[in-house]
Symmetry: C2
Subunit: 454 residues, 2 copies
């Protein structure tokens, strides 16, 4: 499927009357891309990708109209939120219409522990409202201030908060979605329960999400701390012990080997030369017992803000997860990163082995999280990039030693994550997007299986 060169864009646009349409090339260029440039591999593959026009529907009804028009003209449609992804999740490989969801930013309702929102609501904006009721998002990416909830579900997998609630794909972390189909007569399908997995983290390849029901967590007052350590493995083991401490309420356990902290300009005065650091979000009521744990690992607290203070200025979360990479690259754009998951191991043997093996070429950045009920160290290592070949060698070495790498240097859905075709998502795509118009080129299963499965 490629966009037919014969598309009559004027005719198509005229059918979208009443819906905001953007045709200005600079704007289209901006709304065609994401943070794919974190990857030197994707830089070469995606820099020139552009949609033909951008639509900004403000309601599900308008989305249905856009879908119908795209089907009629057989034009690709790629959905985007705020475009804060890192591997081209929302970059249109084959032109066509970009559906920007940011005008669909309504909050339908917030109940204790559960909310219903439109996809384009920004995470931070939602949280501000939710916190007034004592609740907040269970997890968020480091792009919290700008990213949308729909984009997070479509392209994300977890983040700040995953140390308590696990991953977005874990049972209970997404309650329901409404999606608009790309059938000849587009319709709305509601998916509840396990059925949400059909579109969860599918890059918008198999339905246009128009509403989500998301569970909430209690809004603890989160203190923010930086703790520094002389030795990286001590910092890592501190992070692990904190992660295993069920009595300490936490939202973020982010561990950075020197010299990563040297790239955090705004935090410079809290990050002594040569020291490894932990960036933490801890419930204020857990701060006192945390002190014992910090002492046990000979950590030194250099930064300690109450929730109230933290809310006003710098957010430590904006130096963690992939914001770490952002800061590092803003100083040295030759650097890139990996995404990986280390096996459960109380001694962190493989973490240490990888540090020793790669030295300064791969600098360790751990994010502790829960996955399937177990605590695991995930890593977004900073890589001193030389060639794509060497990058692949680094990935292969990790995999050969038992580290699972979720390769962030591919825009293919299956290649980035679990490495296997998700048949449920594929089957759902066959039903809702029979012409393969949604974000074409991203789902490998579609290319390989579309003609072979019934």
């Amino acid at each position: 499927m490629t966009t037919k060169p014969s598309i009559d864009w004027d005719a198509l646009t005229s059918e979208l009357e009443g819906i905001e349409v953007i045709t200005e090339p600079t704007q289209i260029a901006k709304l065609s891309l994401d943070y794919y440039h974190f990857s030197p591999v994707l830089q070469g593959q995606l820099a020139d990708k552009r949609g033909d026009l951008v639509v900004r529907p403000s309601s599900e009804e308008e989305v249905l109209r856009v879908a119908a028009v795209c089907v009629k003209y057989q034009v690709p449609l790629t959905v985007r939120g705020a475009g804060t992804g890192n591997y081209g999740q929302c970059i249109p490989l084959k032109g066509g219409v970009i559906l920007d969801t940011t005008k669909m930013n309504g909050i339908r309702w917030i109940k204790p522990g559960l909310a219903c929102v439109e996809p384009g609501v920004k995470l931070a904006a939602f949280d501000k409202k939710a916190r007034e009721t004592g609740w907040e998002l269970r997890m968020a990416p480091s792009t919290y201030r700008t990213a949308t909830i729909g984009g997070f579900i479509g392209g994300g997998s977890g983040g700040i908060g995953s140390i308590t609630y696990g991953q977005l794909r874990d049972c209970g972390n997404l309650q329901a979605v409404r999606v608009v189909t790309m059938e000849d007569q587009p319709r709305v399908i509601q998916l509840r329960g396990n059925d949400v997995q059909k579109v969860n983290h599918a890059y918008g390849t198999n339905g246009i999400i128009t509403e989500l029901e998301i569970p909430l967590g209690p809004a603890y007052p989160w203190a923010e701390l930086i703790v520094v350590f002389d030795d990286f493995m001590t910092a890592a083991k501190f992070g692990q012990s904190l992660s295993y401490a069920d009595g300490l309420i936490k939202k973020l356990v982010s561990i950075h080997a020197w010299p990563i902290p040297s790239y955090f300009a705004a935090l410079k005065s809290y990050l002594p030369e040569g020291k490894h650091c932990a960036l933490l979000m801890i419930a204020e009521s857990s701060l006192e017992p945390l002190q014992d744990l910090i002492e046990e690992y000979s950590g030194q607290v250099t930064y300690n803000k109450t929730a109230q203070e933290a809310g006003k200025g710098t957010l430590l979360a904006e130096f963690t997860w992939n914001h770490t990479t952002l800061h590092v690259r803003s100083v040295d754009p030759t650097l890139t990163y990996l995404q990986s998951l280390f096996p459960v191991d109380k001694n962190l043997t493989l973490v240490e082995q990888m540090c020793q093996h790669f030295g300064d070429e791969v600098i360790m950045h751990l994010e502790f999280l829960r996955l399937g009920g177990e605590i695991m160290p995930a890593a977004l290592q900073i890589v001193r990039y030389t060639t794509e070949e060497r990058l692949n060698e680094i990935i292969s070495y990790h995999e050969a030693n038992g580290v699972m790498v979720a390769n962030p240097h591919t825009y293919i859905l299956e290649d980035g994550g679990m490495k296997t075709v998700d048949l449920e998502q594929f089957k759902f795509k066959k039903m809702v997007d029979p012409y393969g118009l949604l974000n074409p080129g991203k789902m490998r299963a579609w290319q390989e299986l579309k003609n072979s499965h019934g």
Copy 2:
């Protein structure tokens, strides 16, 4: 140390003027005992144990006076809350004074996530107040309605809520305690942070707790459910999957092999003949995704109450943990129980092995919990008691196969739990109770080491 026969009780009592003293024998008998009779072994050892008098101080100042008088007369002092323990934690082996804390039931303050209370406040009474502020106790025993917070800390280890917050001894689950010493001049010591472990779960052998700071959890609306299964191992594996699901908010995952449910008279209509059951407390916002998990394991929901409905009548929690044993024994007093912890194993192999090995002699009752950050199945198996020798064989078989048994058939602190002497607790006792007057006979370390360690 035994109570000197020459104690002048009248003189002693006169020094307690202004403090409530109970001397009536029936009352003393009642206030000398606990639920030790769950154990046929302890029945023979403890039934005749009595204090000489009971005091009910109403303040820390009065506790200081009681302590001074007991030291002066060299009389044993045994602290009790509501006496809901199961292995004689508060039964005076050598007579003396019983210090009943139930008049010290003040709530000093409740802040978000943290509260300060006197030891005699009842768990349910506290929770009622805390819930008005959106918070509640992180964990509670099944004796929630009657037990005191001080008694739970002194004699308990975890319970309902431990599936989320772990054990009372885990870092962060007890913030601070004040204790009165039994020195020549009794004084008050405040223990904070890790230092609380000196008196945590020490049966009141090394200090009289007069105030506690306890962390709280958010007060979710907890729905209560009974789910029944045709096959026990399916019920067990359902419980395990639920326990591992970080996206499902839960407070209780209690699994009962038939015929245990046949003893739950009040729930009879929800417990079909021959079916194994799960008793659950789940946040209302997690009920919908829970349905998928129930279906996956072919469970059948027979009882489903909202938090509001559940609060009014029967509490399912009162059929779990050691209330299970209570109900079973109220029908058949020849039955008793074990307390055990199975190793982490996703296949629950040992659980199945023990079920097969013992058949109807040891009936499986699992309580899933977190311990040190990991999900584990604990068990309070119902045992068809024949002889003490056979009981010990059963325990030995479990231990030989890798099941940790916290023997509930001993009143000795170290023999019931971790099987090792806690040197910190022993050293603290040497300091605060130099005459060994506090709950004498319970701490093995004191008997064995009091003259050997500096």
